[in-house]
Symmetry: C2
Subunit: 467 residues, 2 copies
């Protein structure tokens, strides 16, 4: 038997097999916390080549590490051992013709999300998935992590947007499940199972995605609300009164606003009042006959009458809309520029957000008095990026990072929520899952992994502990 590296480099050619310095950009995760240097990086050009690589690795006893844009935050797309091959989908970037009558499109797993958005624009169609990393995240990685983003509460997560899949299974077989229908109940919902499987059950190579028509008009408003309880009540009112139009329902706190304004001098805050909590509301419609501004304005008036909304303004131009959105989008950057931080990717039932904020603040202050809580995120689905900065004047967290993470995980678990809302488990949160999820649940997952990947060579050590 040949040396596997020689075999792979011969099969894939110089474009398809990277090692040495060429391979370097693929070896460490986004936050530079994980990544053992593997034998090399395969960049197959098509599904057949992916299958060939998977088979060759299996024969040689090498681990296969599927990788998309490598922008994941839990270390799920880099190797944990030298005897591994990273399989980057970055050369598989074909985007099919969208089918407007069916609302679907066939894409390669290596397509960058922003490239898909761009390709769809001239067709008046959209793929309703928006998140910070859309300029680098690839479809396969979004499927592997079951990405959510800011429109998930309206259009769903990847699992709701994937109609069909093609996957190279751990034994190197190709499962062609590239059907293009929502209603397909011929057996287990494998297409849904692969969403969120983090590459541990196979390599996703292509997908049929669900598309929606692009709205013809939108309106956006920035609001100051009196507190988190008011944000929850006003959010529920909006879902009731304007639910079918909601395209964004984001929140951030005054802590985060202050940090963003401090570190990003070109940011402007244009309302007269400051408060504890801010909402960014966006509504959109496919019909030119809907009085969107009026609907949004009357919701604002109701909120003010009820004492929930303190101040607010509708964007009067595209430029102002962009300024409003930047206040929300620069939350991570403002906090990053402030120095050390701890990120927590959690969700609670939307109605429990205010209770969580109160209980979380107490927990964190008990662990490290003066720690600054900066929650922001998606009001509609209760997904909170609950990030911390050290107390004023301190540069670190006094070694309490794990204490915060564990306390918050236990809190959200007790509230019916999740300590891994959007980013998955990867390598980073397996121990946390073991502490916060039942033995029965972990056993089902271990059995599932074992059934699909009995040799344990597909992304080992990710999502479930290697056997």
């Amino acid at each position: 038997m040949n040396d596997p590296v020689t075999t792979l480099s011969e099969i894939l050619g110089p474009k398809g097999w990277l090692s040495g310095t060429d391979a370097e950009p693929y070896l460490r995760d986004w936050l530079n916390r994980y990544g053992v240097t593997p034998l090399g990086v395969a960049r197959p050009a098509n599904t057949t080549e992916v299958a060939t690589v998977v088979k060759a690795c299996r024969e040689a006893g090498l681990a296969v590490i599927p990788q998309g844009g490598n922008t994941g935050l839990c270390g799920g797309a880099v190797a944990d051992r030298p005897n591994a091959v990273i399989v980057s989908l970055s050369r598989m970037t074909a985007i099919g013709e969208p089918d407007p009558e069916s609302g679907s499109i066939l894409v390669d797993a290596g397509v960058v999300l922003a490239a898909l958005h761009e390709a769809l624009e001239p067709h008046g169609l959209m793929f309703p998935m928006h998140l910070g990393a859309e300029g680098s995240a690839r479809i396969g990685g979004l499927i592997g992590t079951n990405a959510g983003g800011s429109q998930a509460f309206r259009y769903g997560m990847m699992q709701d947007l994937v109609l069909g899949l093609e996957v190279v299974t751990p034994d190197g077989a190709v499962w062609d499940g590239l059907r293009a229908v929502q209603k397909d109940n011929a057996g287990y919902q494998l297409r849904k199972l692969y969403c969120g499987a983090e590459g541990t059950l196979g390599v996703v190579t292509r997908a049929v995605l669900r598309l929606y028509p692009t709205p013809k008009q939108r309106a956006s408003a920035l609001l100051v609300v009196s507190d988190f309880a008011a944000a929850v009540s006003f959010g529920a009112f909006l879902r009731d009164e304007a639910g079918e139009f909601l395209a964004g329902l984001e929140f951030f706190s005054d802590v985060g606003l202050a940090l963003a304004l401090k570190h990003l001098p070109d940011l402007a805050y244009q309302l007269e009042t400051r408060g504890d909590v801010y909402l960014l509301v966006e509504v959109a419609s496919g019909s030119p006959r809907v009085p969107l501004d009026e609907i949004l304005n009357s919701a604002l008036e109701w909120g003010m009458e009820q004492g929930l909304v303190v101040d607010g303004a509708l964007a009067n131009s595209g430029a102002q809309r962009e300024q409003f959105w930047r206040l929300r989008e620069e939350q991570p950057e403002g906090q990053r520029l402030e120095g050390e931080q701890l990120k927590h990717d959690i969700s609670v039932p939307p109605g429990a957000i205010a209770r969580f904020i109160e209980a979380g603040a107490k927990l964190c202050s008990d662990i490290l008095p003066g720690v600054r809580m900066n929650p922001f995120g998606h009001l509609g689905d209760g997904n909170i990026h609950y990030n911390l900065s050290p107390p004023e004047g301190r540069a670190d967290f006094d070694g309490k990072a794990t204490a915060f993470a564990e306390a918050l995980a236990a809190l959200v678990t007790g509230m019916g929520g999740s300590f891994a809302a959007e980013h998955g488990l990867g390598r980073a949160k397996i121990a946390m899952a073991e502490r916060n999820r039942s033995q029965a649940e972990r056993a089902l997952m271990a059995r599932l992994k074992d059934a699909f990947d009995p040799l344990g060579t597909m992304n080992p050590g990710v999502l479930v502990r290697a056997g």
Copy 2:
């Protein structure tokens, strides 16, 4: 060891253990095609009792057959052997308090869908799942078959509406996954996998479901369109122009209308024109400020200008709306009263409906000249109830039932659709799945079944062939 029947009847008491004539209503499937008499019917009162029954059956080597409303159409909820116990969830009917701020509710698996609708009404909330059997179908069965219905294209199927689950696994353990958040990526999406698993991986005992606010206004229209191609084009236009309001987008043919009018004398058709295809369009909005009638009317005008819509009327009252809907809803009954029929539960990409109708008609006419095709269903997701009546003057299909089923399954498979769109595989369609789905796909499903139920006692012979 005691005789298992004695054990179970002692544990469950007279309300919880039925045999003899008391058990009879549970033993045969809805279409009376399947069902071997088992040892008895367990009707546990709670999750603990379900687990006890599953454990007792496991120890005694008995098959466990989970059953909801027993209204399934593929024989998936009755026994295939005497050494079995049917576990009916019909005594577990608790409905929790809805949480309007989170849009969720906790329910027992035995809750009848219509009872849930009724319980939610006073709260201004809805569970957006509507289908013919809603007066008898239970939540657990709807989950097991991943039900769709007429609003799936807008709100999703059960897999999109289930936030959390509680399941008794085949070894009698209880998996408590009753979380109440959309975003939970802590491991494999077990909650989605159990949707459509047809009770072969465990017994679903409780669920947290997603709720939506009830719309405050609706408008409905009945249209005659020139042909199926026009129906597809007009459907695409509606999704583009009024997508966020669409609450119904149903179609039926003149064959079906004629049968319904012939056999149901109280039905009235109120338009002046007849045509080949009819659409029932319903739009709804949470906002009182949306000019729904105007939006629907202008879509109709556009359709007429384009030559797609031949005739049409908006319902001018609740009574007229009901008459319009009855024309669609009585399609199965009209055909049933005509005599023998063959039902096919298929889906194709919505844009391919017209091509399917043409190709399907040719296939069927070749098999049995003069056979009457009666397609009706859901335009928005391409789900077609493609039912056949014998040629005029004939009472049967000349023994061609399997030939029709197989030809249609191959046709939709080739079009990227499904031969089991809504009803699942059950016992009825396993052979069809083996012919129309790849070896790779069937192998994944068999491995999955084996991993979760290594002894093969959980609903054996359903969805995958018993090992």
